[in-house]
């Protein structure tokens, strides 16, 4: 999740049709520059080296929970009626497939298809396994002078992260472990 301004100019993005490190590559329509979705960095094109600013005020939840928390909220209108599961459910349910090119299972700390909640906060990179948070509900860590907290509510399937000092939101990404670690090899894994 990013703010869409580059050098104070709004940019619009689409899927480039390419994958890099098993992850989506975005293309901006204004410059045709390619951007890595996970890091927000321009990896090829005129804007190479630029970085999109993270937009941290987001989290993952469910429709039921959204209704309770934000009765005046709005939802993206769908063109398709009756979408009852993910388009990629088969892939998601297969614990032996890692990415579309089916890389080998070399993930020794955690199964490659295990789900983690990843946080990048200043120079700190932390991933907390979903299993850990189901058992412990919360995890906090120091990042510089600040304490960052990640909370998971198993009942509502909601994960949030924030700076403890003033409840400022921190972006938290849900990812397969194999995908996260391929981008952030220096990650501190909690599991």
């Amino acid at each position: 999740m990013y703010t869409a301004n580059v050098d104070s100019i709004r940019h619009t993005f689409q899927a480039s049709g390419s994958l890099w490190q098993d992850a989506l590559v975005m293309q901006d329509l204004e410059n045709k520059t390619l951007w890595a979705q996970i890091t927000g960095e321009a990896i090829q094109g005129d804007l190479k080296g630029k970085k999109l600013e993270m937009f941290n005020s987001f989290f993952h939840s469910t429709f039921a929970e959204f209704k309770k928390q934000y009765p005046n909220g709005v939802l993206l209108k769908k063109e398709i009626i009756g979408e009852a599961s993910s388009h990629y459910k088969k892939y998601m349910d297969d614990s032996t497939k890692f990415g579309i090119f089916e890389r080998a299972d070399t993930f020794n700390k955690l199964g490659g298809k295990e789900l983690v909640f990843g946080i990048r906060h200043d120079d700190k990179i932390v991933a907390v396994s979903k299993d850990y948070l189901i058992k412990n509900k919360s995890y906090s860590f120091k990042s510089g002078e600040l304490t960052v907290v990640i909370d998971f509510d198993n009942e509502s399937n909601t994960v949030i992260a924030y700076e403890k000092k003033d409840n400022k939101p921190v972006g938290v990404v849900t990812s397969y472990w194999f995908a996260w670690i391929s981008f952030f090899s220096e990650t501190e894994l909690i599991h």
Partner: protein, 106 residues
Amino acid sequence: MFAKKSLMIFCFVAFATASVFAQRPEPKKTEVLGHTMYTLLKPGDIPAIFDPQFISIADAESLYYDNEPVIVVTDGNKAKAYSIWHLDQHEIVNDYINGKAITVTW
């Protein structure tokens, strides 16, 4: 209704284009910053959303399942939710919240 599924239906990255790519011929390979980039589709083949439309919770009742995973974006007193099942088909939404341009990606 469906049993509650874990949040994870959301592994946003790694495979978002998996099934589309899987049906295609050998990808074009290029080296980018020391890693191979695989290209099988043209830009825009997976259509991003450029003019998102939103509906109220009452109207969404007939379109969303209670256990449907969503990405919630908030700013001030504004809150927007994006179905992850639907984002599977688009991957990117170009939007605004409180006048701030954002890129919602999956």
